[in-house]
Symmetry: C2
Subunit: 434 residues, 2 copies
């Protein structure tokens, strides 16, 4: 438990760690937490529209059953949501498209089964954009209902930001966890590529797809990552010395809003004042082509993944997707696809060297604040390169932009240094969180 101060917060605002600790000690019922989350949803869902599916009565009955048999485990009694491209046994999974309306898998995705095994309670399915691509669902940004929450894990981010659940699972193929975390003012984590199983999760572009975790504390991200990795949770380490941070403006720097550039420059200075060793880092020049390579690879793969839908349901696919990623992919030559994959592999090796002297890199999470208009979140690409490098990434809600909306900062580390990333992220978050 973080301390008794948390006890004054409404139950739906508690962290997953605090909920599980209290449930495991017998001081809190799963039903009480679940009702608090459901009450928040009842109050806000009409505006926020974060959920593709939930069933209040079934959730309360499940929570009561948890309490009867004594829920235990690292997520004991923790309500969680999962993006609606992730299969679950007793709810529909519709991928954000009318083509799969009513689709009902017979089993849980690995990540859902692992969450339940750890004691978590699946509250419902969160809104995804169509096929986890750009065409938006109905979700609004909880900080300003005229603005987008970002996508494609729109509902997962909005639900966590609006205190409907403490944690939710999303996915990332482009910036689908990083971007909505930044826009919604919460923490978003993209794991090292390949670590967390995707069985039962809709494939989009298998060469870059990962799960994503949306949460409100770094400790909850670390806890949930261990649950999804299927290992005993390990507490986030306390740093023995201030971290070595590389400030990486990237080749996309000029595409950021001026205010976001200023916020990041300030953050780098503030971190140095806090004792971090902060130095500017240049990406290797070949990495300038990573955003283009990402577009090539994801387009090519998307247009193969969804062959069945293309062949049988073309007119039910949005024009955004048909004219965008699918058009790109269907016209891409195998040679171009292969060149992009070779470039990505080369840049992964080069980036290992670039990051060797740093615990983390500090970089942008999005081009700026969430735009007005819930259906236009794509904007200037700033995260594709990190997705392509397969590195772990965490987005922290450090700033407020000129309109008072949240703006995140992204920290990335070398592949498989996820635990080290969490330790630095908590250090940074404690010092700079707005």
């Amino acid at each position: 438990m973080a301390g008794s101060s948390i006890m004054t917060a409404a139950l739906n605002e508690w962290s997953a760690r605090d909920i599980a600790a209290a449930v495991n000690r017998g001081e809190l019922t799963c039903e009480a937490v679940t009702r608090a989350c459901l009450d928040r949803i009842a109050l806000r869902e009409n505006d926020v529209q974060a959920w593709a599916y939930y069933d209040r009565d079934a959730a309360i009955a499940a929570a009561q059953e948890f309490d009867r048999r004594g829920a235990a485990g690292p997520l004991a009694g923790v309500p969680f949501g999962v993006k609606d491209i992730i299969d679950s046994a007793e709810m529909p999974t519709e991928w954000g498209t009318p083509i799969h309306r009513g689709r009902r898998p017979e089993r849980d995705a690995a990540c859902v089964a692992l969450s339940r095994k750890a004691g978590g309670l699946l509250l419902g399915k969160t809104v995804t954009t169509e096929f986890a691509n750009l065409h938006p669902g109905p979700t609004r940004n909880p900080h300003d209902l005229t603005r987008t929450p970002g996508g494609s894990s729109s509902g997962s981010a909005a639900a966590v930001a609006d205190f409907m659940v403490p944690v939710a699972i999303g996915t990332q193929t482009t910036g689908s966890t990083t971007r909505p975390a930044s826009f919604c003012g919460i923490i978003g984590y993209r794991p090292t590529y390949g670590d967390l199983r995707l069985h039962g999760v809709m494939e989009a572009s298998g060469s870059v797809d990962t799960l994503g975790i949306l949460a409100r504390t770094v400790d909850d991200v670390a806890l949930y990552r261990d649950v999804l990795l299927g290992v005993s949770p390990v507490a986030v380490e306390t740093l023995a010395r201030p971290p070595r941070i590389g400030f990486c403006r990237t080749h996309s720097w000029d595409g950021l809003e001026a205010s976001t550039r200023d916020l990041l420059e300030d953050a780098a200075e503030n971190l140095a004042r806090c004792g971090a060793a902060v130095r500017d880092v240049e990406m290797p020049p070949e990495c300038a082509s990573l955003n283009g390579a990402h577009r090539t690879i994801t387009g090519f793969e998307f247009a193969r993944t969804f062959t069945w839908e293309i062949e049988h349901h073309w007119t039910e696919i949005s024009e955004t997707l048909r004219g965008g990623r699918l058009a790109d992919g269907l016209s891409c030559s195998p040679e171009t696809y292969y060149e992009a994959k070779a470039l990505a592999e080369h840049c992964r090796a080069a980036s290992d060297a670039m990051m060797a002297d740093y615990d983390v890199l500090l970089t942008a999470a999005a081009f700026g604040e969430a735009p007005v208009g819930w259906n236009a979140f794509a904007g200037v690409p700033v995260f594709q390169m990190w997705t392509m490098l397969h590195v772990p990434s965490i987005t922290l809600p450090l700033f407020k932009g000129p309109a008072g909306m949240p703006v995140g900062a992204q920290l990335v580390a070398r592949r498989r240094h996820d635990r080290g990333l969490f330790a630095v992220a908590r250090w940074v978050h404690q010092r700079l969180a707005s």
Copy 2:
């Protein structure tokens, strides 16, 4: 068309390329080919047991519909089978386990949809071992019914070897395409990791899973690979000069049967006599640990992938799997898993250098002939290292062992050199096929 000589063969013995060419020219009906394949199945299935599901009447009706509307494309009128861990819209997909008996996906896997888009006719689902692991299905080796066909793509290999279909899709996580191809005397191809989409295919161990293609000619493998890559087929290149071949005995050499070692040594000499530049190649010493790393990674991932089955259906899982890969995986620490992944990544880079001077490496495909007893095919590991390296591999039916059973040889190339691999494979096959 390969030549008029093929016309004397029964239709079920034709290659996919010849079938599609004749159908596209209007000289052959899909119905005639389908009936020939079904007749072969009717004659032999009682013994071979290659199929988890097929429906004779539905297949004939589908073929007639193809003929009515004029099937066209690179697989026009070609009947194909797919391993029963690959989803298809109007047939069950049961993963070789009673837990998922009657499971009926609502859509085609990407590879099935791509095959159909190219004009292919899905004849049925081929037998897989339980969850594509070791516990066998009922399939027998068509060359000797007392022997195993190998696994886990048992039915796909047996069906192609027994002339029930010209091509079939399998998968590979360990040696699940390489091994049954060798045991059944056909061609097995494992693509460069990550190239062919796995959407709608049961995940086993995502870090190494790929599709596999089983066929009887190198040209058919190349054709089907282009279909599954979603690109216009390109004919296999004719080599301008004899290939540079590295003969790689690997660290598992002593585990091979003596007769298999002799066959491979002879093949290396014969290829040199045919003009190939053949030289011995040593694997980097660290690659000696790849087989162990493969066991670690696949065990760890398998035990997470199937969390839902472990939690809800433990007693319906075979003891082979429970006491084998799942026990390994559930007791594996995340540190050990990470060490294995780091080793694999290091060896991939090292193997690029090892292969730089060769068009392909020649190596073993299995430890020897298919053993007697249809339920014991695992044997000494000889292919795990190549699976871990993510390299493309093709197994050619070059030899006969002391019992007169087929023994394959494996050729591997650098990642993304699949087309070059095909060109060398055809050159080798033309010179050495038994």
